[in-house]
């Protein structure tokens, strides 16, 4: 179990390092880390399927302006690992992943609000000295430090917890797992609502319903919707540019011909 726990924690460490330190920004998404956990624990197919399941649950859950609603990476890694080790179905895995993803947020906050800021004064001093090599070194060290705390927590959780979690999952009544399934079905809405809130503009809000209807009545795939949306935006842009020119022209003629302007105003 200690080896399995180490491998699972390693998936977290590597995926976060790749994501923040090497710029493959979505390497830490459920759809990617699920299969990685599966691969290392010897059940790739389950990993891929659970990764996809969790991706659709956590799809809306993204970091916006520093407020992360749930840590999709931690939730997926622990949920997938427990599901493969203990051998539970997707719904029970979800009942693990959702609460764990919320605990993951706390660990993430400790990392970004306490752990890394501890080194800010040192880095500031390095910059003030004009020490380029030092600054490069510190940035790299921070990238190494960033995933460490959560990785250790994952290691301990899998190492000490996976046996008892199996027994625990047998104990909990079915309405609780059912409840988590329902919560999982509602969870993407939180992320989408956050995104909506960020982009909110009264003038374009109606387009939300256009997208909604394109799926529920027309059953269009996302790519088709994205293309239609882009066509909309482009044509609207040119139309508004055209109107601007027309307006400017009208304004120019109107000021010359005062009588006509009076006529329009009537």
């Amino acid at each position: 179990m200690i080896l399995k726990a180490f491998l699972v924690a390693l998936v977290y460490y590597v995926s976060i390092f790749t994501s923040i330190g090497m710029g493959l920004f979505h390497f830490n998404r459920p759809i990617v880390v699920g299969p990685l956990v599966g691969l290392l624990l010897g059940d790739l197919t389950t990993g891929i399927i659970l990764g996809a399941t969790f991706e659709s649950v956590f799809l809306g859950v993204i970091a916006i302006g520093g407020s992360v609603p749930a840590d999709a990476t931690v939730g997926t890694i622990v949920g997938t690992a427990i599901a493969i080790i203990v051998g539970v179905d997707a719904n029970s895995a979800l009942a693990i992943a959702v609460p764990v993803s919320m605990l993951g947020v706390v660990l993430g906050q400790v990392t970004t609000s306490i752990l890394v800021p501890l080194f800010i004064p040192v880095m500031d001093k390095t910059a003030e000295k004009g020490d380029v090599a030092g600054l490069k070194k510190w940035h790299f060290l921070m990238t190494l430090l960033f995933p460490l705390l959560t990785a250790i927590a994952i290691f301990l959780a899998i190492w000490l917890g996976s046996n008892s979690i199996g027994a625990f999952l047998d104990q909990i009544p079915s309405f609780v797992t059912g409840g988590f399934q329902a919560a999982g079905a509602m969870l993407p809405a939180v992320g989408f609502a956050l995104l909506l809130n960020m982009l909110f503009d009264k003038k374009v809000f109606a387009f939300f319903f256009l997208g909604f209807v394109m799926v529920i009545y027309l059953h269009l795939p996302s790519l088709a919707i994205a293309i239609i949306a882009t066509v909309f935006a482009i044509t609207q842009y040119y139309r508004s540019e055209q109107l601007k020119i027309q307006f400017a022209n009208n304004f120019a003629t109107a000021t010359v011909q005062n009588e006509e302007e009076a006529f329009f105003n009537e």
Partner: protein, 274 residues
């Protein structure tokens, strides 16, 4: 962008290449105090080393580059490009006010994040996920691979392009963009696309259903979900989504919302609603 090819010196081309590679590490030391500040500095180091030879200038430029920074990953290189062109101007004209460099940085972060988030987080990521998820659901390894490719190829290209455009046409862009309202324009049309995608995603991925059914005597049962589907498919997801959106507008904390949703789910399952 510009048809007349700007002539870059050998050094500048080399510098931009280095900046591009370093820009991939933007989030490396992310924290709540300076956000991506030191990650941004990594990308600026090649420019600082190219333009500032004097130790004093170099120090100042390093400190300047490591100030607070937070921007969408894909649009940040545009600011890096403009910043590099300003560092060049600073190295050539000693009367160039260095404070204006950070002012430019600060004023560009917000608008560019808005554009970047709606295009990359709101649209490209969702397209990548909606192609990857169905494949992966069947256990196909192409699911995650396609997801990564569909997101990261446009992402990599955009960052490369924006870095060059920012560097070559940066100053000229700045003087016209704010005057002509180009930012408001791009943000407006980008959020239009974003809105449509969020609406579509709500219908595709918020999957809440009710299992309530009422026995109607004479052996018939009334299934509530069927009635709801007849009124409008996905009416429950829409209601859930708009309720959460309303609560977010009312400044309810996200953690409270999440806990509430879980309790609501468990309570609902207990009562036999879900």
């Amino acid at each position: 962008m510009s048809k007349s090819k700007v002539n870059l010196s050998q050094d500048e081309v080399k510098m931009l290449k280095k900046m591009y590679i370093q820009s991939w590490r933007l989030f490396g030391s992310f924290n709540m105090a300076k956000m991506q500040g030191y990650g941004y500095a990594q990308a600026m180091i090649p420019a600082i080393e190219t333009f500032h030879k004097g130790p004093e200038e170099k120090k100042n430029a390093l400190v300047r580059s490591a100030s607070f920074f937070n921007c969408t990953y894909e649009t940040a290189p545009f600011i890096m490009g403009i910043n590099a062109s300003l560092e060049k101007a600073r190295s050539e004209h000693s009367d160039f006010d260095s404070d204006s460099i950070n002012a430019v940085k600060a004023s560009l972060m917000g608008p560019l994040s808005g554009i970047g988030d709606s295009i990359f987080w709101g649209t490209v990521r969702l397209i990548a996920a909606s192609i990857g998820i169905p494949l992966a659901m069947t256990g196909n390894i192409l699911g995650p691979i396609l997801f990564l490719l569909i997101y990261h190829l446009p992402s990599a290209y955009t960052r490369y392009k924006l870095l060059y455009v920012g560097y070559t046409t940066g100053e000229q862009f700045l003087t016209t963009a704010f005057k002509s309202g180009a930012f408001e324009n791009i943000t407006y049309y980008a959020s239009m696309i974003g809105m449509i995608m969020i609406g579509a995603m709500t219908a595709q991925f918020v999957g809440i259903k009710t299992v309530i059914s009422i026995a109607m005597g004479s052996g018939e049962t009334l299934v509530l979900q069927t009635i709801l589907d007849n009124i409008m498919p996905s009416i429950l997801p829409l209601t859930v989504m708009l309720t959460i959106f309303y609560l977010i507008r009312k400044k309810i904390k996200i953690s409270t919302l999440l806990l509430g949703i879980i309790l609501f789910g468990i309570f609902g399952a207990f009562l036999g609603i879900f």
